[in-house]
Amino acid sequence: MTLASLSSFISGAFRVHLTRFTVTSSWLCLSVDLQAKMNTAVGFLPEININKSKQRRSTYYSRMKQTKESLRARLNPAGPAETLTRKEIALFRSSLKQSICVRLLQEGFHRSYSELVSLLQSDQDWRAMAEPGSLRILAPPLSEQKYKMETISQHLSLAEEAERTGIWSTVCEERLLLGRFFSDPEDLWLRFYFYHSCTDREKGRFSRAATEARACLTELYLDQGDLEEARQQGELCRKQAEDGGWLDSDGRSLKLRACRDLWKIYRELAEALLAAEDHKKALTLLHEGNRRAMESEDKQLKGEAAFQVGLANQRAGDHGTAKKFFNSSMEIFHSLDDTDGLVKAYKALAKSLKSEGYIEEVVACLEKLATMSRSSRLQHRLIDVALCLGNIYFSRSQYVRAGEYCLQGYEVACTTEDVAQLQRAQVLVASAHAHATIGKYGANLTSTSPAPLQRLLDWKVKRGREDLSVEEYYSPAWFKCAIV
């Protein structure tokens, strides 16, 4: 068996689907095979003790003559099947790093070799400097992970071959594959390295693969929290993807992917600013993000973006603009049948209306919201809306209606076992009823004529039973309420 067949066998196994198992098992078979050969191989090492009996005085020239013959036999073996070649022996004698490096060099891939060596070196340097206990240091060093080394050398050499013939897109494709290959958390540095090696190269950086690498980098930086870098990569990616109209390796549009990521980035950037009460800058960023979301052709995202812009406007006190955005987000959510989104938007809209003083609109809005929540069984939302409506009626002194809504909220709260909401509802129901009673009989107290006095006396006997229907009066909720 020659190395050529050996390596073609290995690389064949790789090409099939880079299956770890296939490779290992083929290596096992080989090693058994070679071991057997080693045992039967005769004369592959020079016989050292052959001239022991002769006089030591025989000079090295004559000794060499004998060695020469055995060497000749070794250099030109008569039966090639009987002896191992140097390369086969080297596979067993040398380290993993050496055998991979030598194979790369032998095939003329010196750039891949340099790159691999530098990678191994930087891994080693990092390990020497690293704090103990990190995820990467717990994993074995790269130079001991055969499968990874083989993969790197395989794809780098393919990339180098393409580079020589000037097919830059293939170069980037291979590097992108490598970046995607390293999915383990401890190999994050390799992902960064290979993606950057696509995007930072002079030639080929505008290819499809380089653009996808940029998209991957955007996501990596976003995950790492480096938002500025993520934003730069994302914008570049969007621009390149727009020019090229490419799809990523999973068949999704790269541009849309970039836009989605960009929206996330802008939103996170804006959130930090909002937290610092810098509304103006935050709004600029959110508008930018909104534009990306609009480009992304993802309706859900568009609705969410409009909603967030509205929310930020609301926080900044610009309720007019906020309402516009809420309305457009509602439209989108409506077309998507996204009740959750709708409810969210309605609530925000109501808040804006309320702070502008359009109570009628608020009420209309909230009532719509209440029906919507009820029909789609959004219990928490329903409690919220009911109590909110109750509050509004309360503040407008319509205590009876306030009581009705609060009671509704209370009933729902009973089913959700949300104690905080339940208690809030109880208080509100009670105070609404109290106020309703006072409103009804307050006038009688101030009057001096006998008729109102009679009405007061009647009420004393009935104690508010007329305010509520009989069922409600006897419902367990009412009892609980009355206790409070």
């Binding site: 090492l45 020079p46 050292i48 000079t59 090295y60 020239y61 060499m64 060695t67 020469k68 060497l71 000749r72 070794r74 250099l75 140097r86 390369k87 080297a90 004698r93 050496q98 490096c101 030598v102 194979r103 790369l104 060099l105 032998q106 003329g108 010196h110 750039r111 070799y113 340099s114 060596v117 530098s118 180098e160 020589r164 013939t165």
Partner: protein
């Protein structure tokens, strides 16, 4: 000029009983001895002459305390002294052989290399890893003389020694593989040669780093094999790597030289032999680039610039000017090429030094 070798006939009765003497070079029965040290013997005057030119004139007197049997030399205390002297002798032989080889005098290098091997065996014993440098010297000398069979013998010996002590140092591995690679190139076994050169580069990288000129030599040798195999894209790529490494290296050297331009050091950074070797290598590459169908001016510029810098450092201003203008022409073909400026600076420097020869600059050739 040193004195010629002087020989006198051996008087067998003057020697201790039973001590037969053999020729220093061919190990046949000796008939002559060196009349200066009286401890070195030869079969004929030709061998004495060859040995004299090769090594003996450097070590004639050094051999006396090592070889002469005196009462003192039999004592235990002087044993270590002799060992030290032998070690010195080995080192001298090695250096002499090395310098003869790099001057291309393969035949003259043989006696020194042989003595080096014999002393090494004497000190360290047969089949030890310390013998490898001597074997490599012998192999290289014989390679120059075309005795491939002998080269194979020596290299096999060296390989065996290395095989027995794998932890013998990266340099040894690298040198052995390089020699083996060259042997296989000579015998035409290109695949094995590639394997050896690959190992050579691997070990050289481990020892000297990726961007070392030692490593780059391996790339160059490898490119030669690929040329024979007709794999031109690989050759092109390897050459550009070699040119890059040398360009960095020479630029750095030039910088240090510029700093001490007022007082150029007398001894050059390179001895002449090595410069000749590098010069040859770079010329091959320049020729390749110029003949190449692509004719990439950037590459021509880099290689020609290397040659100009090398010639400048060697003090050959005429050549430096020639290569410099070649480089300039090539680099000006590319708009805004980043080499144009350094090349012009170098040409300027050459002009100044060429018209007003500095007293130190002529000596700095060597």
């Amino acid at each position: 000029m040193e004195a010629e070798s002087q020989g006198s006939a051996i008087i067998p009765f003057a020697l201790p009983k039973g001590a037969e003497k053999f020729c220093e070079l061919c190990q046949r029965e000796a008939r002559l001895q060196c009349s200066k040290c009286r401890v070195t013997f030869y079969c004929a005057a030709e061998h004495q002459q060859a040995d004299w030119v090769g090594i003996h004139k450097r070590i004639c007197q050094l051999l006396v305390p090592i070889r002469a049997l005196t009462l003192r030399s039999l004592q235990q205390t002087s044993h270590t002294e002799t060992q030290i002297k032998k070690a010195e002798l080995i080192e001298i032989c090695r250096l002499v052989a090395q310098s003869k080889l790099s001057e291309g005098k393969h035949q003259e290098a043989l006696p020194a290399a042989q003595l080096c091997l014999r002393c090494s065996i004497d000190v360290h014993g047969p089949n030890t890893v310390q013998l490898v440098p001597a074997y490599l010297l012998l192999a290289e000398a014989n390679m120059g003389l075309g005795n491939l069979d002998l080269v194979a013998d020596f290299l096999s010996q060296a390989e065996w020694a290395v095989l027995k002590s794998p932890k013998c140092g990266l340099t040894i591995h690298h040198q052995l593989h390089r020699s083996l690679g060259r042997l296989h190139v000579a015998t035409g076994d290109l695949e094995t040669a590639l394997h050896n050169f690959a190992n050579d580069i691997y070990f050289a990288t481990e020892e000297y780093g990726l961007d070392s000129t030692v490593t780059s030599r391996g790339y160059f040798l490898m490119a030669d094999v690929f040329t024979k195999q007709g794999k031109m894209p690989t050759v092109r790529s390897l050459y550009s790597e070699v040119a890059r490494i040398w360009h960095c290296h020479l630029t750095r050297l030039l910088e240090t030289r510029k700093e001490s331009i007022q007082n150029p050091p007398v001894d050059s950074f390179y001895d002449k032999a090595e410069r000749v070797e590098v010069d040859e290598m770079l010329r091959t590459m320049l020729e390749f680039e110029q003949k190449d169908t692509r004719k990439d001016p950037a590459r021509i510029a880099v290689v020609a610039h290397c040659l100009a810098m090398l010639s400048f450092l060697g003090g050959d201003f005429l050549k430096a000017q020639g290569f410099g203008s070649t480089a300039l022409q090539a680099s000006q073909l590319i708009p805004d090429h980043d080499l144009t400026e350094p090349i012009q600076a170098l040409l300027q420097l050459v002009k100044i030094l060429h018209t007003v020869p500095h007293p130190g600059s002529a000596e700095s050739q060597y």
